[in-house]
């Protein structure tokens, strides 16, 4: 009979190991009373901890821990923030006379998360499309730029990412209920291996938006960035480091008026 390491015996006590290994350990313990005593002690200790706190899980839940009530309150709070944020933005907008800002913004905490989520779903849907990946092809780049700039009411250039090995495929307009104007532009690029990168660009959601966030979503990484004029989420099946390098190129080109203030 083969011996087991102490780690394996302890893992057995904690309910681990494969069924075959467990049978082996049981045989080993039957022949080694000292090891068996130690393992039994560990199991008794664990049983005692479960006896102490296990019953908590069966206690009736207080109302404040009701998930659905909390979800409702969260939605109400967000609406509350929206009202305050909209009022603040109207004041700023009057001061600056900046047209699109007057539409009011949802600057609630979490806006960046919602935009990233929207960007990633749009990426997932359209990056898989072989023939209809874009609405306006890159061959019509000038029209695309003026069309999207118009719809987003901000000056939008189409970044050139050939230096990063990415070919511009084109773009499309998407609904974006979380931002003023309710529209987002998606620009799509493709690398030599056929992997696709999208930029999801919206007017800036407001002054309280986080400047920078990275989300790792399984196969894809999303990198969010916002300034006073636009927000942009870059989604691609790349590592965060590679995406950051591309982001520097994107942000200096995307909105020429604010260019260089991207820093990580």
């Amino acid at each position: 009979m083969s011996a087991f390491t102490r780690d394996q015996l302890v893992e057995y006590a904690d309910g681990g190991l494969s069924p075959t290994e467990r049978i082996g350990v049981e045989a080993f313990l039957a022949a080694n009373p000292e090891a068996a005593a130690e393992i039994a002690h560990i199991q008794r200790q664990s049983d005692a901890i479960r006896t102490l706190y296990g019953p908590v899980a069966a206690e009736p839940l207080p109302q404040r821990l009701s998930v659905h009530a909390l979800a409702r309150q969260g939605a109400q709070r967000r609406r509350g923030y929206w009202m305050k944020a909209a009022a603040a933005v109207i004041l700023v907008g009057l001061g600056l006379g900046s047209g699109w800002m007057l539409r009011g913004q949802d600057a609630a905490p979490g806006i960046a998360d919602r935009l990233i989520a929207d960007a990633v779903s749009a990426h997932t849907v359209y990056a898989l499309e072989k023939r209809h990946a874009v609405e306006v092809a890159s061959t019509d780049s000038e029209h695309l730029s003026s069309w999207l700039s118009n719809r987003l009411q901000t000056n939008l250039a189409m970044p050139d990412l050939t230096a990063s090995g990415l070919t511009f495929l084109g773009g499309r307009l998407l609904p974006a209920p979380d931002v003023s104007g309710g529209r987002a532009a998606q620009l799509m690029y493709e690398d030599a291996a056929g992997a696709r990168l999208t930029l999801y660009v919206t007017p800036s959601p407001g002054p309280d938006t986080p400047r920078y966030e990275v989300a790792n979503l399984g196969l894809d990484t999303a990198l969010f960035w916002s300034d006073d004029v636009i927000s942009c989420t870059i989604t691609a099946p790349y590592s965060a480091e590679k995406l950051q390098a591309i982001a520097r190129t994107v942000f200096s080109q995307l909105n020429p008026s604010v260019g260089g203030d991207y820093a990580t």
Binding site: E34, A35, R50, L52, L61, L65, H68, I116, A117, L217
Partner: protein
């Protein structure tokens, strides 16, 4: 997409149990769970295919608890006498006395050991899951478990020991 709120809801009893064992206080444990749920609910749009909802919730809870402790330490420089280990007293009967003694002993464990021990014993999580939640390698998890168990064994004395020789 399955309703993530249902999955969050299903994990609440386990989160309460874990929080109660971490804090040993009904009100602060439920505060912790409430903070955790609020965070999870507001971030749920981001949670799409990043693994099991339950592990994600435990990660949030552990982080909130650590933050709360850091905040509490900053606010107070005094030593909490209740947290100083009491010498173990042989209990006349192994039942409730031994359990109370065990609870006090768990409280004296360093936080990283307590987090690991409770995930594995109380929550019954596989090592891999517990290590992922704590963001540490499995080897580190196992050494924390080992140290926690050795401390508990010392602090709870021989009363809960069986009449068998111990192994060095």
């Amino acid at each position: 997409m399955p309703d993530i709120l249902h999955e969050i809801e299903a994990a609440v009893p386990a989160l309460r149990r874990y929080a109660r064992a971490l804090t040993r206080d009904v009100a602060s444990a439920d505060d912790l769970v409430q903070d955790c749920l609020e965070r999870a609910i507001s971030k749920r749009a981001l949670f799409r295919s990043q693994g099991p909802v339950r592990a994600w919730l435990f990660t949030i809870l552990v982080n909130l608890h650590r933050n709360a402790l850091r905040g509490a330490r900053r606010r107070s420089d005094t030593v909490d006498l209740g947290s100083v280990p009491e010498p173990s007293v042989p209990a006349p009967q192994p039942g409730h006395m031994a359990l109370a003694e065990l609870a006090r002993a768990i409280e004296t464990l360093p936080l990283d050991q307590k987090e690991a021990l409770l995930l594995v014993t109380l929550e019954g999580l596989p090592y891999k899951d517990a290590a992922d939640i704590l963001n540490i390698p499995i080897g580190t998890l196992m050494s924390r478990l080992g140290r926690a168990r050795a401390t508990l064994k010392t602090l709870t004395g021989t009363q809960t020991e069986p009449h068998l020789r111990t192994v060095k």
